[in-house]
Amino acid sequence: MPVLLKMSVSLTFLRRPFARFFMPFTLQRKRRDLHSIILQRSMSYKTPAVSYPNKENTSSPDELQLDAWKTTMKSSVQGVSTVSSSTDEDPVAATKELIEVWRLLGKEVPEHISEEDLRVIMENTSKTSKKKYLKYLYTKEKLRKAKQVKKEMKAAAREEAKKDQLLETPEEGTQRNFLFLRLWDRSMSSAVGWKGAQAMQFGQPLVFDMAYDSHMKPKELQNSVSQLLESEGCNRRDVDPFHLYFCNLKTDSNSHTELVKRYKEKWDKLLLTTTDKSYVDLFPKGNIIYLTADSPNVMTTFKHDKIYIIGSFVDKNMQPGTSLANAKRLKLATECLPLDKYLQWETGTKNLTLDQMMRILLCLKNTGSWEEALKFVPRRKHTGYLDISQHSEAFSKHLKNSKTNNVFSKALSVRTKKLA
């Protein structure tokens, strides 16, 4: 029995005390019931000598050794299956278990799932949408866990620091002279508030057009509201903020509820104008410029007497021309950022996020330099700046040269062609 011996040896180091007694049982198929009992009681010592040199096994020991796991798999489970079979016809429970099996397979599904999320999954009709939502939950869960771990580590470090300080303080204990009490955050926010109030009175208007609720799915709407929050924050901190308008914002529309949910009680104290009226009712039509990437007109300079409009619209669904159609309907001037003129565009859409637009406009307002302002275009979308000024200078120089110096004219004209 060389094989059997080997096997028992290999098992000894796993769970040494039982291995010798345990092995023969699993080898014997007929005694399945007995095994299960024995296994469930985590292997009693009582029946060691039942079948050590088993006659049935001698014919094909190799085969039997391979099949051993099956008996244990089947037998060890019997208890488990009876317990869980009570919730048999419930689709929710079935989905829950399905997710569990997916997790066993190493698929990207969350470990814990709330009832509400489960309901969303049940509502999603297609397989793909279910998987997508599960993956979303999975990444969310992962991020939350990572954050939790970080938080705990930080807390531990703080404890440590506190202990150290406690040891040091009794030795120091000296009084020191300060000019200010430590109130930085609060004084900052009040200063920002003053500036905001000033902007409400004298600032240049900047309009967010909130008329796209019906074009967006819930996820896109949430994203757009996040971006609005971000841009509002940017504007608040700026030296010379815009006077923000949220136009076409109907009360009880989806974006309104979402904004109130995110801002909470701060919503009524925000230093910006929200209205359900359209921008055409608030401002003279001639002064309005609708910013949209689909526009055929390129923005050359930032004009301080115009009212720029940004559509609060996250479009993941590829509906090109929606905002341009809106502007066309109201016969407004449209402009797009001169991205192609200044940047070597690589990938991605030319639609920028709301906060990026905000930062670019703020920068243009304060400095007027495109190079400076377009720094807020994500770096992954372009490979670098085009050197326009130098190009055109070089170009005109070449022209001059070709006029004055005939010898070079041919070569130079070839070069300029290449440049063009």
């Binding site: 094989v3 080997k6 096997m7 040896v9 290999s10 098992l11 796993l14 699993t26 296994l39 190799d62 050794q65 391979l66 099949d67 051993a68 796991w69 099956k70 244990t72 798999m73 089947k74 060890s76 489970v77 019997q78 488990v80 299956s81 869980s84 079979s85 048999d88 689709p91 079935a94 989905t95 278990e97 399905l98 099996v101 997916w102 066993l104 397979l105 190493g106 698929k107 397989k127 279910k130 055929p296 021309g321 929606t322 341009l324 159609a325 809106n326 066309k328 309907r329």
Partner: protein, 580 residues
């Protein structure tokens, strides 16, 4: 070489039809189609591959089978700057794409030899110590075993070892992979064992597990339990068409015809498109059944193919042929053939169905184009209401046209030629044939510049009616509208495949209608040089669809060696007719 290349570039943009053979010198090079059946190799043309080249081609097949998806972009790029079917092109392509090389076998990458015979526990332990990957060893090695299709016993020994280590419990993913191997090697008893284990251990499985179990169980005597598993799948999700395919095959394997039909109906009820293999199975089984009802149902399948514009594959076509020929007392005769340009079947001489739409279909399509493509819920997106009425009045006033020209598309055909010059050439060429022309364009074409000469545009306007839309309007919807409005005889010229406009249509049926109309009415210029004589792509006269006249069937099919794009139609036919 360059000559062929330019031909190739423009060619795939238009649907193929075999009968245009010889209308241009480059066509003959592509006669067997530049495309290969999807599940087969990508770039392969049987007729043009010379014998000494087959080696290279086989190599290419082998290579493209691996990582085809990833390298698709690369392949295309490579193909565009070298003639596809030239000797050595395959090799060149493979050199150009270093990523296209055979993937390094994972065992080599990890410098670990996969076991070929069952190992003992110590040996597995040793193997595990050697393993230096990031993933779990058991998961990794079982994936490798599955990938290499190792023998069942090796996998079994792995499971035995894993179980012994883990209190006799094997994890789910190992079980699934083991099941896959059992099915691959058709080890029925093992499949049953795993099935028992899974049934005992897990109340519910995921789709992959179910699919494998179904596939495994249909081989065994307990195949009816596969149907129960299918019911389990339905509880949480819609079963895949492959699940149904497996079940239907199982039913046929065990001679249960009624169950097979029932499952087929269920499959259609879920709005799934059945696999062609499933349909083929019905025909294959039908050979031995002499039953009118069954025969009727098979004809229903053919009508399903017709209504959904599906084309059978080559082997399926053979099955259909043998089935028809096996019908006793009807004396069907089947032949593989092609169709003449005029729409006459080369084998039986019958005319095929015309490509033209019926008046009702035509009205329906016109209505739909207007509502969904041009209007689309927001007239401002593609045009403005003012412009639309201006255009509608314009079309109403000018009598029906014979040809509508997409001015910008035609003018920009050759980057070297001046736009207005080439447009004028085309317009003059057509005007000489006494055709009423409409040229659609944008307003910027009228502003004189280096590309648009004023006098040439004036000449165009003298020879044809012109309509210039706003620069930010889309001109294609106008083109469609004008053509549809002019009537059935009117054709339009553009190289655009109009796929974006097709996508605007609400359902598959309307899209198919649009495609049919487009095939019959779109002219495309196939001149290769600005100066050369202007010739047009031949327009199909007959509809490529499964069709019958009662005592004859004409069934287009896809050849195995040819990959067909979705905007192309097959050019091989199966002609079946009854001897009288």
């Amino acid at each position: 070489m360059a000559f062929c290349l330019s031909g190739f570039r423009s060619f795939p943009k238009l649907w193929k039809n075999n009968l245009s053979l010889g209308s241009g010198p480059a066509n003959s090079l592509f006669c067997a189609g530049h495309c290969a059946f999807r599940s087969q190799q990508r770039w392969l043309c049987l007729t043009t591959v010379s014998p000494q080249n087959t080696n290279a081609t086989n190599l290419l097949i082998a290579k493209t089978r691996y990582g085809r998806k990833k390298d698709e972009g690369n392949n295309k790029q490579a193909a565009s700057d070298s003639h596809l079917f030239a000797a050595g092109a395959a090799k060149k392509r493979s050199q150009m794409n270093p990523s296209n090389k055979d993937p390094i076998p994972p065992s080599q990458r990890n410098s670990m030899q996969l076991p070929t015979k069952p190992l003992t526990s110590e040996e597995w332990e040793k193997l595990k110590e050697d393993y230096k990957g990031r993933a779990n060893f058991e998961t990794w090695i079982s994936a490798q075993l599955t990938h290499q299709r190792s023998s069942v016993n090796v996998a079994k020994s792995l499971l035995a070892w894993a179980a012994a280590k883990n209190n006799g419990i094997v994890s789910y993913d190992l079980l699934v992979k083991y099941l896959y191997l059992c099915i691959f090697h058709e080890q029925t008893s093992e499949i049953i064992d795993v099935y028992e284990i899974m049934k005992a251990r897990y109340k519910i499985l995921e789709q992959g597990g179910y699919t494998l179990l179904i596939r495994g169980l249909i081989l065994a005597d307990r195949w009816r339990e596969a149907l129960l598993l299918l019911e389990d799948v339905k509880k949480v999700m819609v079963p895949s068409k492959k699940n149904y395919d497996d079940c239907i095959r199982g039913a046929f394997l065990h001679q249960d015809v009624n169950t097979a039909w029932k499952l087929y109906q269920e499959l259609l009820g879920y709005n799934l498109i059945p696999m062609l293999e499933t349909l083929k199975a019905f025909f294959d089984f039908g050979k031995d059944i002499k039953d009118d009802q069954y025969a009727n149902k098979l004809q229903d399948i053919l009508l399903y193919l017709r209504n959904n514009q599906c084309y059978p594959g080559e082997s399926f076509a053979h099955s259909i042929k043998t089935w028809f020929e096996s019908i006793p007392g009807e004396q069907w005769k089947g032949q593989f053939t092609t169709i003449q340009k005029s729409g006459q079947c080369l084998s039986c001489g019958k005319m095929l169905e015309s490509i033209y739409l019926t008046p009702e279909e035509y009205e329906f399509l016109k209505e739909n184009i207007m509502r969904n493509v041009i209007d689309g819920g927001d007239q401002y997106k593609k045009t403005t209401p003012k412009e639309l009425t201006r255009f509608q009045n314009f079309v109403k006033n000018c009598a029906p046209f014979d040809i509508v020209i997409d001015g910008l598309n035609v003018a920009k055909m050759f980057p070297r030629a001046r736009e207005s010059q080439f447009l004028l050439d085309v317009v003059t060429h057509l005007a000489n044939q006494n055709l009423r022309l409409l040229v659609l364009g944008r307003k910027h074409m009228l502003t004189p510049g280096s590309r648009w000469k004023k006098d040439e545009m004036e000449k165009v306007q003298r020879q044809a009616s012109c309509f210039f839309a706003d620069n930010i309007s889309k001109d294609d919807p106008f083109l469609l509208y004008a053509t549809l409005h002019s009537g059935n005889h009117c054709k339009f010229i553009t190289k655009d495949l109009m796929r974006d406009h097709k996508a605007c249509l609400p359902d598959a049926k309307t899209q198919r209608l649009f495609f049919k109309w487009q095939q019959g009415h779109q002219l495309a210029i196939i001149s290769r040089f600005p100066g050369s004589k202007i010739t047009f792509q031949h327009v199909l006269r007959y509809d490529t669809v499964v069709q019958t006249t009662g005592d004859s069937w004409h069934i287009p099919y896809d050849e195995d060696q040819v990959e067909r794009y979705s905007y192309e139609v097959p050019n091989k036919w199966l002609c079946l007719h009854r001897k009288t």
